[in-house]
């Protein structure tokens, strides 16, 4: 109910506030003028002054007592050897703020920034902005020429931007815009995915640390990396390029040279120096997809490059510098790769700070429809005509695409390809039921690929961790299990030879334990697993 008392903290202006003779009253003195406004009451003024200017400050205090009986003035002598030395001024004002007994329930604080050096002004700004000083800024300016009023103008600047409705709306809009940006214009519905994007947006805009995007193939890792770069570029947080590389494509001898560059003559055939991708990413983003495929030696070099922002090109004596933000992509469990000795633990620890698990398309079926609309429009642009999808065709496609019958093993890449095919084949730019049916048949066929042992669908990314030796065996075991009505029946088939040599054959138990090693059970392998 009670009004908050207004307290102003400010410097005695050694030039502007000075004055002894009667004529000083006709001159604009910022600190005095602050207390001369008919519509403003300053209840207390904390006046900081150099000790050698005590007389001038006391004069200002006396003058304020005269023209503003409502104001109490407290003088604070403060010695600054060099009022233009940032470190010194900041430390002194920081100490002042720390020692000050702020009473935010009874008083509101304003820092007068018109007096004092520009350095002091900057320090006040920083202290207020960081809330070390719970104050708004107050700026005074002299009366306009010919104005009879001596008080001049006052402007209060509150650095708490949330207090400005228009600015808050602007930030909300900007936030919504950057979310839409990251989602590439698709109005996704999956709540978990939307939460992930919201968090990723905050991290992307606030951090220069590595980001790890994990998820199955086709979950949209590359696309997201490109959107992060575009978002940061739009906010002027990066000046450099986005350099993308899939580590699976640069295995072997060339890997180090591709990433880190080499000097001329580094090895046989190195007739020209090469800068390397890390150097190319300087000032920008480096997206290393399938980072788990990187060799151990390159992993060690990469770790050094991230931590020290410098690295040695192949054959070079002197390090080169490159400052980039790393975005790593992986579709496999890197922790498992560390246990298996294929991935460096220290590198994982370094890139695991911000890890985002992108769900595959099969886990985000609610997002198929919004993606369909956006991709249809894009496909239309690619085929050079406007493409529509009639209601019946649309329902047909979505019914299948969102059902468990569609595993989408290649994720969004696969969905987008299906849409592009339909758009290309659509008679007269209209995708009809026949076009959809043809596409669905094609999808079903491709998912029954004889090359596909089905383990990727069954085990997810863990299937990639299997040695070919184990993989062939497991695929056969799974196929047998699917054909047999029970665990025991399957066991009899699979252990048909050895069981004849046993006195007490226990095929079912042997098979159950085998499957368990891969986290599988017989029931889970049935064509229609019980829910």
């Amino acid at each position: 109910m009670d009004r908050l008392a207004t307290v102003v903290i400010g410097f005695y202006g050694t030039t502007l506030d000075r004055g002894r003779g009667a004529a000083r009253w006709e001159r604009w003195r910022p600190t005095v003028a602050l207390c001369q406004h008919p519509d403003r009451i300053i209840d207390r003024l904390e006046l900081i002054h150099p000790p050698r200017e005590a007389a001038g400050a006391a004069q200002v205090a006396a003058d304020i007592a005269q023209i503003s009986p409502e104001t109490t003035v407290r003088l604070h002598p403060l010695a600054l050897a060099d009022p233009w030395d940032f470190e010194q001024v900041f430390a002194a004002l920081h100490d002042f703020a720390r020692a000050y007994a702020f009473d935010l329930d009874a008083e509101r604080y304003l820092v007068h920034i018109t007096t004092g050096t520009h350095v002091a002004q900057i320090c006040w700004f920083l202290l207020a902005e960081s809330r070390h000083l719970p104050a708004a800024l107050i700026q005074t300016s002299p009366p306009r020429h010919g104005d009879r009023d001596v008080a001049g103008q006052v402007q209060i600047i509150d650095l708490d931007l949330s207090r400005y409705d228009a600015l808050a709306r602007r930030f909300e809009a900007e936030h919504a815009e950057s979310l839409a940006f990251l989602k590439d214009g698709v109005d996704t519905r999956d709540p978990a995915f939307n939460r992930l994007i919201a968090e990723l947006e905050r991290v992307a805009l606030r951090s220069r640390e590595p980001i790890l995007l994990q998820g199955p193939t086709g979950a949209g890792k590359s696309r997201l990396a490109r959107r992060i770069h575009a978002l940061k570029a739009q906010r002027r947080q990066v000046r450099g390029e986005l350099i993308e590389v899939n580590c699976a494509t640069i295995r072997g001898d060339a890997a180090a040279s591709t990433l880190f560059g080499h000097v001329r003559g580094a090895y046989t055939g190195a007739t020209h120096a090469r800068a390397g991708l890390l150097r190319a990413a300087d000032g920008g983003l480096l997206f290393l997809d399938e980072i788990g495929e990187l060799g151990l030696e390159e992993q060690a070099m990469l770790l050094t490059a991230i931590e020290q922002r410098r690295f040695l090109p192949v054959g070079a004596d002197a390090p080169v510098e490159s400052e980039f933000q790393l975005i790593a992509g992986s579709n496999r469990d890197l922790a498992a790769a560390v246990r298996a000795g294929r991935f460096r633990e220290d590198l994982l620890a370094r890139i695991d700070l911000w890890t985002f698990h992108l769900p595959g398309l099969a886990e985000r079926r609610a997002d198929i429809e919004p993606n369909l609309d956006v991709e249809l429009r894009r496909a239309g642009e690619r085929v050079g005509r406007h493409v529509t999808l009639n209601r019946e065709a649309r329902d047909r496609f979505l019914a299948f695409a969102t059902s468990p019958a569609a595993p989408w093993p290649a994720g969004f890449r696969e969905l987008n390809a299906a849409i592009l095919r339909m758009a290309t084949l659509a008679p007269g730019g209209r995708i009809d039921v026949a076009t959809v049916d043809a596409e669905l048949a094609r999808l079903r066929r491709s998912w029954r690929d004889p090359e596909d042992d089905g383990l990727a669908t069954l085990l997810g990314p863990a299937a990639d961790d299997l040695d070919p030796f184990d993989r062939v065996q497991l695929a056969h075991v799974v196929a047998v299990c699917r054909r047999q009505p029970s665990l025991s029946a399957a066991g009899r088939v699979l252990f048909a030879v050895s069981r004849t040599r046993r006195t007490a054959p226990n095929d079912a138990d042997r098979l159950r334990k085998y499957l368990q090693r891969f986290g599988l059970s017989f029931d889970a392998l049935r064509p229609d697993p019980p829910r």
């Binding site: 009004r3 406004h37 403003r40």
Partner: protein, 341 residues
Amino acid sequence: MSNEVEMLRIDGAQGEGGGQVLRSSLALAGLTGRPVELSRIRAGRQKSGLLRQHLTAVRAAAEVTGATVEGAELRSAWLRFTPGPIRGGTYHLAVGTAGSATLVCQTVLPLLLAADGPSTLVFEGGTHNPAAPPYDFLEAVYFPLLRRMGAQVEARMERAGFYPAGGGRFVLEVAPGRPGPVPPLARAGAPVFEAWAMSAGLAVTVAKRELAVVRDALGISREAATIRRVEAPGRGNVVHIRVTDGDAVELVTAFGAVGRPAEVVAAEAVEEALRFVDLGAPVGEHLADMLVLLVGLYGGAFETGVWSLHASTNLAIVQAFLGADAVQAEERGGRWYVARP
């Protein structure tokens, strides 16, 4: 007590719509013991609502009458003032640059005439501010008239306070006692002029040049045109001309300012003095709006040649508190006659 009396509601935007509505309401509420609620205070002004100077007047009136006040905040458009008994005593009323101490004086003086004992008031702040009657007006015109009505008021200025430095000081001694009615005032047709130029912190030549103009224009002697050097914290300069004609006394004032030649300032004062003479009525513009209140309170009558918005506003406020019969005004032949019927 005041709780038994119905709250009087005053529209703060009526008439001149400024500080006058507020000050007259405070004085009349204190004198009648009637609580008042003001709304739309200074509604049409660029900086609407209560400003510092108005809060000072509210606080002064509240102190003298032991009032409880709600809404006394900067820029507030609403105020409720519930007065208690008026108490005599010693009051120290400090007014900052923005306000004039003379306006606060006008607000509390009628109250203290109705107090339970004598009072000493020390006013600090502006004494010579173009937006208010200067101290010299009170001393030369208002206080003498109150004394003629039987009031015991003594005043002395110890220091002048010019805008913007302020810092002036004057002391008022008031003994309680109900004054008689405003006496009949008549012009004699033989105006006598007296002029004085006040200055502080300026070369004496400024005042000399001003008085030379006044003497020439009005044909007055050197003895009747004097320089008054005053103590003041800041610089300042004013020219006063007192016109005495029969019972009628008027004081006109012109303010010096940086860049304004002394001759121009003096000419303005002369012009104002001659305008009063020409009007022929015994009461000038500024005294008229003060007398509306005194007639309403103590009876009597007066005649003025200028009926300002301030005067008509005061009339409406006085009638709101004291009834339409307390004071009425009518125009006859370009003159305004104000009286208790």
